[in-house]
Symmetry: C3
Amino acid sequence: MKLFSSVNDVTNINELVAEGLKLKQNPYTFQDLGKNKTIGLVFLNPSLRTRLSTQKAALNLGMNVIVLNMDKEGWALELQDGAIMNGGSVEHIKEAAAVMGEYCDIIGIRSFPGLKDRDEDYSESIFNKFVKYCGVPVVSLESATRHPLQSLADLITIEELKTKPRPKVVLTWAPHVKALPQAVPNSFAEWMCKADVDFVIAHPKGYELNTDFTNGATITNNQDEALQDADFIYVKNWSAYEPYGQVLPGNEDWMLTLDKLHPTNDAKVMHCLPVRRNVELSDEILDSDSSIVIHEAGNRVWAAQAVLKQMLHNL
Amino acid sequence: MKLFSSVNDVTNINELVAEGLKLKQNPYTFQDLGKNKTIGLVFLNPSLRTRLSTQKAALNLGMNVIVLNMDKEGWALELQDGAIMNGGSVEHIKEAAAVMGEYCDIIGIRSFPGLKDRDEDYSESIFNKFVKYCGVPVVSLESATRHPLQSLADLITIEELKTKPRPKVVLTWAPHVKALPQAVPNSFAEWMCKADVDFVIAHPKGYELNTDFTNGATITNNQDEALQDADFIYVKNWSAYEPYGQVLPGNEDWMLTLDKLHPTNDAKVMHCLPVRRNVELSDEILDSDSSIVIHEAGNRVWAAQAVLKQMLHNL
Amino acid sequence: MKLFSSVNDVTNINELVAEGLKLKQNPYTFQDLGKNKTIGLVFLNPSLRTRLSTQKAALNLGMNVIVLNMDKEGWALELQDGAIMNGGSVEHIKEAAAVMGEYCDIIGIRSFPGLKDRDEDYSESIFNKFVKYCGVPVVSLESATRHPLQSLADLITIEELKTKPRPKVVLTWAPHVKALPQAVPNSFAEWMCKADVDFVIAHPKGYELNTDFTNGATITNNQDEALQDADFIYVKNWSAYEPYGQVLPGNEDWMLTLDKLHPTNDAKVMHCLPVRRNVELSDEILDSDSSIVIHEAGNRVWAAQAVLKQMLHNL
C-alpha cells in the first residue's frame, strides 16, 4: 500500500480488519519491520486520538516517530500553484512536502476543509498536493472529505463486538453548535457500504450527504424508524452539503437519548469523539454500558498499525 | 504504586529516596522493565524541568514517551459533570482521560490551580477526575495543590548533600511579581514533615499555608530567626491562602541575599525554579557555591525514575 | 568537537564533508555510539528542516531526542545579566540553559537576531550565553549571524554533485518581502572561502556583508557577470548590514529566472529554503532539473549526523 486515503485504496477490507484484530493480540511481533524507518505525522489541524494512536501504532512497529504541528511549530503554507509569494505564506507546499519526504519513509497528514468552497474542499487539493510532492507513501490522518483511519477502526470495532453475522448499523445525524466537516460521515458511509452490514443513514432534511459516499445505503429522515432493531448506532454531527457548510435551525431533538435505544437490538453506541455531551449524545448513554466510544477509540491503534504494517511491507 | 499524587501515596519515603540515588548511579539497568510501555505526559500548563526530566527518566527505563501539550496542541476540556456542552469546551475530561488511558500504560498530568475558588482548587477536581477516568496509573506532574516529584527530588538532594544525620531545613517565603500557587510549598512541607529533618517554615504574616500540609513544622514570621543554623534553605514564593490567591503589599525585604546566609550553618540554597533573579533570590547567591538549584533540578530525573520504576513493577 | 557554531570550530572541513557522504551510504552503522545519549533540540524560533533533519540524524545515531519549542511550550527567557526580574520574563537563561544541560548530553539551539541592534546580534549573546551556562557540547541550529549546519549541508551537496575539481560557486542576493537575517549568507560565505571552489558574491549596492565572513571571495554588484560560467548558484535574500536590518527599495530584477541561467555552465541552483516562489526564484527554475534545493535539504541529515557523530566521540 502506497496511499491510504479512502476505502478505495484497500484491496480487501476484511483482510485489513482481520490484520488489525491480530495485531491487537500481538502488538509487538513486527518491530523489525519498522526498525530505522521514520514516520512523520504532520498536522495542519489539531488532533488528540489520531496523533496518539498513530504514534503508538508506529512505536509498536518499531518505527521512529516525528510529530510536526505545522500550524503551531511551523509557518503558513502556500497552496496555490503559480503564486507570487509576496504575502503571508512562508513556504509553498511543493517544497514543504518534498522536504518532509526527504526525512520520512512514510508521512501521515491531517488537513481540514475550509467549509466555504465545496469544490475546493471536495477536490482534496491540500491532501493531494501533499501526496504528489512528498514522494513517499502517505496515510491520511483525516482530510477535507474523509477520515479513513477512523472508519477502519469503526469497522474493526463492529467486527469485534457484533453478535450476528450481518448486523444492522445506523449512522444518525446529531446536533452540534458548530459547523463540522462531512469527513467522518462520508468516510464511515463508504466503508459501511462495502462491509457486510445492513447500513442505514438517518438525518434531518437538508443534511443529505454527497451520494458518491452513500451508494448502497438506506437513507431516511426518520430517526425512530432507522433505529428499529439497530445493532450499532453511529452518532455524528455534520454540516450541510447544500448549502455547503451551513448549520440549519432546529433538529435539537435528534440528540440520542437512552429512551431512543429501546426499540433497538440492545444497540451499541459509537462516536468518533470528541463528543459534545448533552448536545449530540446524552450523559446517560455515554456513561452507560451501551456506549463503546472509548473501546472504539482504543481500536484506532490497531487500525493505524494494520495500515502502517502494509505500507512498511511495500517500502 | 498506582498513583503518585502526594507523600501519602508512598509507603516508605526513605526507600524511595534511596532508590532514586541508586538509579542515579546506574540509570540504564532497568530498560527491560519499560520496553513497549508507553508513558503519556499531558500538560494542561507549560513545563520545562518536569517535562524534560520525566521524559529522560522514562527513556532511561526503556519506555516510549508521548508528550501532549493539551493547551497548545489540543483543545479546551469540559470539567463539569452534567454540562450541556454547547459552549467553547470541545471534549469532556471523561472522554479525554479515558482515551489517553487506552493508548498509555502510565499517564503523567500537570494542571494548575485557578487561584480564584479555593475549594475548587483544593478539591483537586481536575487531577482527580483525570485519575478516575483514565483507568491507568497516574503520576502528578504538579497539580493544583501539590508538586510531589519536585518534593521527592528535593528530599533526594538533601539526603545526598547533608553533612549531618538530621539537618535543619528552612522553607522561606520570597517576594514575586505574580500570584503563584501554593503547590510547591504545600508539597515540600508535607514531605519534610515526614523526613528526618528539623523543619521550619518562615513567612510574612498573611501567608499562612493550609495546616493539613504543615503538621509538625515550626512556623515563624521571623526570617532571621528561622535561618539561624540552617543547613538547607528552600526559597519559594506563594500567594496567600486567605484571602485566597492574593499578593499582599510589602515584604520585598524577604528576598534572600548573601548577608542573610551568615548566621546559617553554611547553608545550601534550594529553589524549584524558575526563579525571579533579584526578586526572590539575589544574583550573588544564585551565582555562588551556596546555590544548589541546578544540582537540585538535575535530581528531578532520579525522582521521576524512582516513581516510574515502582509503577512499572506494578503494571 | 565540543562546539559547532561556525566553520572555525571544524579542524578539517574536507574530512567532515567526507564523513557526511559516508554516513549517507551507511546511516545506521554507529547506533551504539548514541545509545542512552540524549540530544535536546531547543528552539527559540520556528524550524522545519533543521528540526526534522537533526532529529533524524540523532535517531540514526541511536540517540534519544527531546524537542523543546521554548517560545511555544515554555516561557520568556531573561537574557540580561543583573536584571531585576520583575517584568515579563519568567526564567533567566543562566538557569534555563544549565538545567537543560543536566538532562541532555548534547544541546542544539536556534535563536534568531532581532535585526535592530547590530552589535547585540553580532556579539551572539544569546547563543554564547547558552553555550556558557549549559555546560554540555552545543550545536548551532542557526544563530543570529550563522547557520553552520546549513552551510555544511551545502558543501556536502556541492562536493557530491560537482563535475569538476574546483567549481565556480556564486552566492547571489534575491528579493524578498521581509527583512531577513544575514546568518545564511554569512555562514555560506565563510564556508565557501575555506572550500576548494571559486567563490563569487553578487548583490545590489547597499547589501554588503560583514567582511569578516567574505575574506577571499570575489564580490560584485553585477549579477550577469557573476553568473557567467557558474557551476552552482546559491540564491538567498538578506537585509542590509548597514543601515542594519533594512530592506532597500528596488532590486526586484535580482529574482533568479531561467534565462539568467543561459550563460552559466548548466548551473545547479541552490537555496536553503523556505523560498518565496516568484519573488526570490521563479517557478520555472524551482520546477526544473536545474534546481537541487530538495536534494540539498535532504543532505541536512548527513551534515547534522557528521557533526553529532564527532560530538558523541568526544563525550
